[in-house]
């Protein structure tokens, strides 16, 4: 069972619906027992980094998440804010992140953006450097994904970067480190490309 972690942020229904369309069972829950019995986790999220971490702290789920991800090593996919929360901290706030991935979340560097490049980076963009992952098995040609974000990953280990995209400059748009995966874009809103990615997460990990 894939568990979509409910910690009171964002719209979780569309992820569940897309998995359902793929014929994959999933549940949206904050129940510790259900999380304990999950094979895979999805950490979604939209909004402010501090709000996200505060909600996670308030949910009381961090110990079970640490256990499932770091000890049991079940696959987890962070989406959007969800992938940023996996890092150590963010320029968006003062809260500590989950810290499972070495690195931080930083604001787009305005000095490297063209004058007509706006923040947030919002819309459909293509991605690069993704060939080697099972998450992109049989991906369609020239995949495009839907992004909405003002902050992006800044990883300590380049090897953790799963995929990059370009907005003014190249930035890491996702991570893969052992069982810990995450993407900055929204696969649940990225048409057939996102469906394929979710299907790969469900099937290949």
């Amino acid at each position: 069972m894939i568990t979509i972690i409910d910690y009171n942020t964002g719209n979780l229904g569309s992820i569940k619906n897309m998995l359902k369309r793929l014929g994959k069972a999933s549940q949206i829950t904050n129940d510790i027992n259900l999380i304990e019995n999950s094979d895979k986790l999805i950490l979604p999220g939209v909004g402010h980094f501090d709000y996200g971490m505060q909600q996670l702290n308030k949910s009381g789920l961090i110990p079970i998440l640490n256990k499932k991800v770091l000890i049991d090593k079940i696959p987890i996919l962070g989406i959007c804010l969800g992938v940023q929360l996996l890092t150590e901290d963010s320029e968006e706030g003062v809260e500590k992140g989950l810290g499972w991935i070495k690195g931080k979340t930083i604001l787009f560097d305005k000095s490297k953006l063209a004058s007509n490049q706006k923040i947030p980076n919002m819309g459909w963009a293509d991605i690069k450097n993704y060939q080697q992952s099972k998450l992109f098995d049989n991906m369609f040609e020239e995949p495009r994904f839907y992004f909405v974000h003002s902050y992006h990953l800044s990883l300590e280990n380049v090897g953790d970067s799963l995929v990059t995209s370009t907005y003014g400059y190249d930035f890491s748009a996702g991570i893969e480190h052992d069982n810990i995966l995450g993407v900055q874009f929204h696969p649940e809103k990225s048409h057939k490309y996102g469906m394929k990615l979710l299907e790969n997460f469900a099937n290949n990990y």
Binding site: G13, N116, Q117, K118, P120, M122, G123, W124, Y146, S165
Partner: protein, 262 residues
């Protein structure tokens, strides 16, 4: 036409957004799709657009009854179960509670219009609560004899003395994450988008501008992206009546060196 505006790789594609008018859970304008079993079913039409390559969808609810809030939430819930691209919901939204219900049911963004003008603090409240990325400010604007663009309210029935530029700038400062700009002079004419005001806002504002009103030919879309530098273009009846197919439009834009998702 300078080459710069088309050759800079912004990393993002230009977006094509069909708009569906909804009343009591049904699309109100007719459509010309023989493939649809039920031309009034917003889900069926939306699914078709998503399949054809629409980048986002806008659902504008014009229901005026007390049941509105409930029917709209139910519809949004159904839409989110079937659509795998982002969608915005607008029409009569005036409170944090309205927005909360729509987002909880699966809307990605909401659009506000007259209510935000009458109560500008609303934009800030919504941005704080839900994030600017899901707050689209819709502006209906009309160019008057003095050459200025003014803000109109209540579906274009009420004129204000506020210049479109001033309202857009203040709304963005308050937290609006995107501007949906409808030119009343151009809307329904199929004679092209209002390039001047779209260009003014696109170059002035730090958030994306969705151009609406007047798109009638492939060239009009090319112009609104190349000349007015809009981030997205919205249209309704030309898509509903199949005068322009989204697939063809995107191929055309691509052939004209405009970055689109094919």
């Amino acid at each position: 036409m300078g080459s710069n505006s088309t050759t800079i790789n912004r990393g993002l594609t230009k977006r094509i957004i069909p708009c569906l008018d909804i009343k009591d859970g049904r699309t109100v304008k007719g459509t010309n799709f023989v493939a649809l079993r039920d031309a009034g079913d917003p889900i069926e039409l939306a699914t078709l657009y998503a399949k054809e390559g629409a980048d986002e969808l806008v659902f504008l609810d014009i229901t005026a009854t007390h049941e509105k809030r409930k029917t709209l939430s139910e519809l949004v819930n159904r839409i989110s179960q079937h659509i795998n691209i982002p969608f915005t919901v607008g029409g009569g939204i005036s409170s944090v509670e309205d927005v909360s219900a729509l987002l909880a049911n699966g809307a990605d963004k909401i659009s506000i219009n007259s209510a935000a003008y009458k109560n500008p603090a609303l934009i800030n409240q919504l941005a704080k609560e839900f994030g600017s990325q899901c707050i689209v400010l819709a502006i209906d604007t009309k160019k008057e004899a003095d050459g200025e663009w003014y803000v109109y309210l209540n579906g274009g029935r009420v004129k204000t003395d506020t210049r479109c530029i001033d309202w857009a700038v203040s709304a963005v400062n308050n937290g609006a994450g995107e501007i949906l700009l409808t030119s009343m002079n151009n809307d329904g004419t199929k004679q092209g988008f209002a390039l001047d005001i779209n260009k003014t806002l696109s170059s002035l504002l730090s958030v994306p501008v969705i151009a609406s009103g007047g798109g009638g030919s492939l060239e009009h879309f090319k112009d609104v992206f190349n000349i007015a530098e809009a981030d997205a273009a919205l249209a309704a009846s030309i898509f509903h009546f199949n005068e322009i197919e989204i697939k063809d439009l995107k191929r055309y834009l691509h052939a004209n060196n405009i970055s689109v998702r094919l």
